[in-house]
Symmetry: C2
Subunit: 221 residues, 2 copies
DNA sequence: GCTATATTCAATCTATTGCTTGATTAGTTG
DNA sequence: CAACTAATCAAGCAATAGATTGAATATAGC
């Protein structure tokens, strides 16, 4: 094998993995799976794709060895293959944020419009938690919460929020979070909470960012 | 803007950046530019592409904001847009190595065949350098050497090696490196050196990996 | 201004990708 | 074993990307 052939073969492999990330829907799938494993139907529902199309995208991700599977009875559960994949996704995101102002602009326009309040950063949350009077709410589905959440957070999935709003201390500051800086669940939660008269804010991060900041995650219910 | 539209728009941006990495030739270009800036013709030559094709790939990279340019007289010099891009490339590589054994297998087969000696790691080089008797040779082109090299390394571009082999202390251990773990220049250098009777080894890394390991780089000649 | 050189653009062809629809396979439950 | 559900596969279509060729543009030096 000549030097040129070797180079071509190696870069081909790198490009193949990058190709797996080169479809918006597949990025969205990785984003979902980074929160914990899921069955195909659940992925299809969350991403708004047909089962067949979802399955095809999952095959592509699996051929790139980015995800792996486990069969449980009638269902097939997908998960990210390992931590390097989550790292790669985070890195892709960082690269995009640094390079394409459009993402930040989009986020600002959307979140500013939806929840009408300044987001809170991780450092700020840690600080305010220490001084008390802060309630942290994780508005993701229960399974994602159990796969890893911020210590002390309570889980109220978005669709239960309106009926469980009384569980919250109305004199406290509520900080809601979901999957990360671009997840829309927490924005909608904050919007609801503010309409109900609470002092609510969105955390500009999720468990992945919390973990990347070197802070501990809690498991289980 | 609805939640779904927002999600689509954001993931679209991530995917667009990933797409820029999804062609082997563009990955190779990023790999080159990670070593320092280059003019188009030099990139075309190094990658074995025509000027027109090279230019087109560079446009794609620039539209994704991964590279930026500078005009100097009659030439246009390209460079990586910033450190996040190099990080992203490193991350892509890590993801590929962890997931696709094929790359490691390819590398082992190729390098084992070409230079016929065990590669040296960064930690091992640092250790052996401390105890003396080691000469570190950077076999990349001069411009890349000047953009950043291992402290104490001497620069002998591969094409000058055969004529400058006498400059080396034949009683010392020679460690040669080039652009990184998959760069073929150092393997060819080691092969030449061993045929000349020297105790030569390939460093399984380049300046980027050295830097990522938290070690200092030297600039200039 | 004219010529040479470096780069980019435009047109074209071919190959690949994403998505839809309908059929098929694997596993569970009655 | 039959009926059902979850997931995958296969075929086909439209849209997109990569590579080649030849023309166009920008700058330097005369």
């Amino acid at each position: 094998m000549q030097g040129r052939e070797f180079k071509d073969a190696v870069f081909e492999q790198f490009a193949r993995v990058a190709s797996a990330f080169s479809s918006p829907k597949r990025v969205e799938i990785v984003d979902l799976l980074a929160q914990g494993e899921r069955a195909v139907e659940s992925i299809a529902e969350a991403t708004g794709m047909t089962m067949a199309n979802t399955s095809r995208h999952l095959q592509v991700l699996r051929q790139a060895n980015l995800v792996s599977t486990r069969r449980q009875g009638i269902q097939v559960w997908y998960r990210v293959a390992d931590a390097a994949v989550v790292d790669g996704y985070r890195s892709l995101r960082a690269m995009t944020e640094a390079r394409i102002g459009e993402v930040s602009a989009l986020a600002e326009a959307f979140f500013g419009h939806v929840d009408g309040a300044e987001p809170v950063g991780i450092a700020e949350l840690v600080e305010r938690s220490d001084s008390g009077g802060v309630v942290v709410v994780d508005v993701r589905p229960r399974l994602e919460f159990e796969a890893g959440h911020l210590p002390g957070a309570i889980n109220i999935p978005l669709e239960e929020l309106s009926s469980r709003i009384d569980e919250l201390d109305h004199s406290a500051t509520v900080v809601a979070y979901c999957r990360g800086p671009y997840c829309v669940l927490s924005a909608q939660a904050v919007s609801q909470l503010r309409h109900a008269g609470l002092d609510a804010h969105r955390l500009d991060a999720g468990p992945l960012e919390w973990d990347a900041a070197g802070l501990p995650l809690a498991l289980g219910a």
